[in-house]
């Protein structure tokens, strides 16, 4: 038996989207096999299939040489396939010991839980991993995220895991915790456990992986022993020959910056952020989740208070204490989570569009002029082509794309000077997406400054005049013109410091 896990010709589609197109993936006992790729490459889908959360449409999975059908996470765990997620799934109120043995309790002959044996077993497990074990009786929530992850690894060992999947385990760990995790992964590998390691941080992969598989667009683009590949090759495969047609624009960038950010810092989320944004410009912000893009945007919009640095908006040095103030100054922020931060789902379309404009729509004594309100809503419904049965339909019954247009309408109605868009097209249909793209371009042509945050590389390449790339809270690249390529952007996003002329590209 050469492979402990073998996936052959795996296909999976969601609706009309082909997420996996015949993927092969193998894992040997005692190796760390890294899986890399951009967002949407298909890594998560593959992992969900291996860990039993999804069933493939077609293809075969062999586990220890036998064909298997993994139809539930429970079954995967019982077979010996465990997954450690970025955000550990734990029972915070239960003790560490209870978490470790949950579902696999050691019992006394009379059927009670044998705490002593459990504790002994846990102690020997932790000792063998080189970990302290004084916290076994403490509630899980008292532990740091890093320790919680390690407890889950211990739990995987209780389940006699032969395969452990790590899904971006280091994204929220400190440096010290990361080092400790690596040494444990090495110990597990030496015991013969097969490890699938997903990370966006290429330097980590070169440290601990034995093999690496690069995925893009639902396909495996290459699989190499780690010695046979270098960083540039991996980046090239991840980026591919991305053919993106830039959206047609009337270049009409203003002379004076609309927004200047200098040395903006809020530890530990972002450090020393400086850039200029001009009227009529679409400035793309690319980076992985957690790279600090959203935090920078929210600091400008008055949702977070930066510790240090300056924001100069429209010629004035500003620091907004609340979104209300930022809004009045002419800044609009379309948040990344439409349902939670953007919409009032049980309220009407008209309500959702007009809510930011109520003061302007009201007559004496704060009474809303319903005619004006309807007029405003009606205008935006037509202008943005929002498909809704009526202005008084509750907004939750619209499709995702139309919901997003409603949120956009809410912000356009305040006629902002600066429009911050945080993942404006996430999770919406293709037609609405291209409509929103055209709209963004039109708005910029009319002289608005647009800050476009996106995790989608094609969107960034299509829309942006300039791209700022962030990695772990710092700007690692500013690209425009010929330099604005998929490869450059990915290199910067994975931590390579690129052209950084003080961060202020112009």
């Amino acid at each position: 038996m050469e492979y402990i896990l073998e996936c052959r010709g795996i296909f999976k589609s969601f609706g009309g989207v082909q997420a996996l197109k015949g993927v092969d993936f193998t894992l040997k006992p005692g190796e760390v096999h890294a899986l890399v790729g951009e967002n949407g490459a298909g890594k998560s889908t593959l992992i969900k299939i291996i860990s039993g959360s999804l069933l493939p449409d077609r293809g075969d999975i062999f586990y220890m040489g036998q064909p298997v059908r993994i139809d539930s996470p429970r079954k995967a765990q019982d077979m010996g396939i465990s997954t450690v997620y970025q955000e550990p799934l734990v029972y915070g109120e239960l003790s560490v010991l209870e978490n470790i043995f949950l579902g696999r309790e050691i019992r006394t002959p009379r059927g009670n839980i044998d705490w002593k044996k459990e504790e002994e077993k846990a102690q020997s497990l932790f000792t063998s991993l080189g970990l302290p074990y004084h916290f076994l009786r403490e509630p899980m929530r008292e532990l740091s995220v890093g320790l919680q992850q390690l407890v889950l690894i211990a739990k995987a060992l209780v389940y006699e895991a032969k395969v452990i999947i790590f899904d971006e385990p280091t994204a929220i760990l400190t440096e010290h915790e990361t080092e400790r995790l690596f040494s444990i992964i090495q110990k597990l590998r030496d015991r013969g456990v097969g490890i699938i390691y997903i990370s966006h941080r290429l330097e980590e992969i070169f440290r601990i992986a034995n093999r690496v598989t690069v995925m893009r667009d639902g396909e495996v683009k290459g699989e190499f022993p780690i010695e046979a590949v270098d960083r540039a090759k991996i980046v090239e495969l991840m980026a591919g020959k991305l053919l993106v047609e830039e959206i047609a624009r009337k270049r009409s960038r203003g002379e004076e910056p609309l927004l200047s950010v200098r040395g903006l810092t809020k530890k530990p989320r972002f450090f020393d952020i400086s850039f200029d944004l001009f009227p009529g410009e679409i400035l793309g912000f690319f980076g992985l989740v957690g790279s600090g893009r959203t935090d920078v945007a929210q600091s400008i919009f008055g949702l977070l208070a930066p510790e240090d640095g300056a924001i100069i908006f429209n010629g004035h040095r500003v620091r907004f204490a609340s979104p209300e103030e930022a809004m009045r100054a002419g800044i609009a922020y379309l948040p990344e989570d439409r349902k939670v931060q953007g919409l009032f789902p049980i309220q009407s379309v008209a309500y959702n569009i007009s809510v930011t404009m109520l003061r302007e729509l009201s007559r004496r004594f704060g009474i809303v002029d319903i005619q004006k309100e309807q007029g405003l809503a009606d205008r935006y419904v037509r202008e943005l082509n929002i498909k809704t049965p009526s202005l008084y339909t509750r907004v939750y019954s619209l499709s995702g794309g139309n919901q997003q247009k409603v949120v956009l309408a809410k912000w356009l109605s305040v006629t902002p000077k600066l429009l911050i868009l945080d993942e404006p097209t996430r999770g919406i249909d293709v037609a609405s997406k291209s409509e929103i793209h055209n709209l963004i371009a039109q708005l910029a042509d009319r002289g608005l400054g647009v800050m476009l945050i996106s995790s989608e590389l094609p969107e960034i390449l299509k829309m942006s005049d300039r791209v700022i790339v962030m990695h772990e809270g710092r700007i690692t690249g500013v690209f425009e013109g010929q330099e604005k390529t998929a490869e450059n952007i990915i290199r910067a996003a994975t931590g390579e410091r690129m052209v950084v002329s003080g961060g202020v590209g112009a």
Partner: protein, 327 residues
């Protein structure tokens, strides 16, 4: 016809209207002395006191975030005692005493609102605590040192003080015509027509989105708790005038009845949903029920039970009709 039926089933206000009409017809036919001008107008004055508290609950529950005000009964009591003691024992001018009483109500509501908004303690806990604190304060105020350490009711008011609770204008009780109806109209404008009303529904249906849309969430919440205090205070004033006595135990148990009426009226306990028309009908239905049962000679101890039955029964009936229509 089918459209009318759809409306009744889907729209809680219509549903309650139909329920009200049926209940009214049943009592009018079967209960003697029910369908008389005197009884119908007399009945309304009993609805005012509980009704004001139900409107207070409506505002607070609409604001979401687990919004609830358990202290309305205690605020009512304390205001009744403040007005009673200031007029009856201190001998203050009644207008000034009433003004001070209403201000105290607003102050107590404001305190609830500040605690809820800025400390992030759950409204249930904040107002449960203030229920007891305000109740104790009411008892302390009621102590008359001339007669030892026990709380005592106050009942020596000048004749002019009874105007609000006992007089009629054109046969209609003063407090209905000059306080309750204007309050309902003002709240209607506030909720349905004003910027503040829009903000209130927004904060109640999605607090995060409200914050991200530039709405001052804390200010909205503090305002509704303050209004709740004011409405409770109005209720305390009216009740004292009507029964010609300020009693330190008068508001006990009102808070849960008020919440029940608000919920019966279609206010979603999750916030952000519910119309004032529904709550007014809820008040009307409960007032009708209490009065009809009393005239029919059913003992008072059945009152609260019937309140519970109406609440569950109406929601159940509504759901059953909705389910049948969808089949």
């Amino acid at each position: 016809m089918k459209r009318v039926l759809d409306q009744i089933v889907e729209n809680r206000v219509f549903f309650l209207l139909v329920l009200f009409v049926i209940l009214f017809a049943v009592f009018a036919i079967s209960v003697q002395n029910f369908f008389t001008f005197y009884n119908l107008t007399n009945m309304t004055q009993y609805g005012v006191e509980l009704g004001l508290l139900a409107l207070a609950e409506m505002l607070v529950i609409l604001s979401g975030g687990g919004g609830i005000d358990l202290s309305v009964g205690s605020m009512l009591t304390i205001v009744a005692m403040i007005i009673g003691v200031l007029i009856g024992r201190v001998g203050l001018n009644p207008s000034l005493a009433i003004f001070l009483g209403l201000s105290a109500g607003m102050g107590m509501g404001y305190l609830n609102g500040v605690l809820v908004s800025y400390t992030k303690i759950l409204p249930f806990i904040v107002t449960l605590a203030s229920l007891y604190v305000y109740k104790s304060l009411a008892l302390i105020i009621a102590v008359d040192p001339r007669f030892g350490p026990n709380p005592m009711p106050v009942s020596n008011f000048p004749e002019s003080f009874y105007f609000v609770g006992q007089y009629r204008i054109g046969g209609i009780p003063f407090q209905v015509l000059c306080i309750f109806i204007p309050v309902i109209l003002l709240l209607y404008v506030l909720l349905e027509k004003s910027v503040f009303g829009r903000y209130l529904y927004g904060v109640g249906s999605n607090e995060k989105a409200a914050l991200f849309s530039g709405i001052n969430v804390e200010r909205v919440r503090v305002t509704v708790y303050t209004l709740s205090g004011l409405l409770s205070a109005l209720s305390g004033w009216i009740i004292t005038s009507r029964i010609a006595s300020a009693r330190p135990d008068i508001g006990t148990g009102y808070e849960l009845q008020a919440i029940t009426i608000a919920v019966l009226g279609g206010v979603s306990i999750k916030g952000g949903e519910g119309r004032i028309g529904g709550v007014v009908l809820g008040i009307a239905i409960i007032t009708l029920l209490y009065n009809g049962m009393q005239l029919a000679g059913i003992h008072q101890i059945w009152q609260l039970g019937s309140l519970g039955v109406i609440l569950v029964g109406s929601v159940l009936l509504n759901q059953m009709l909705l389910a049948r229509r969808k089949m």
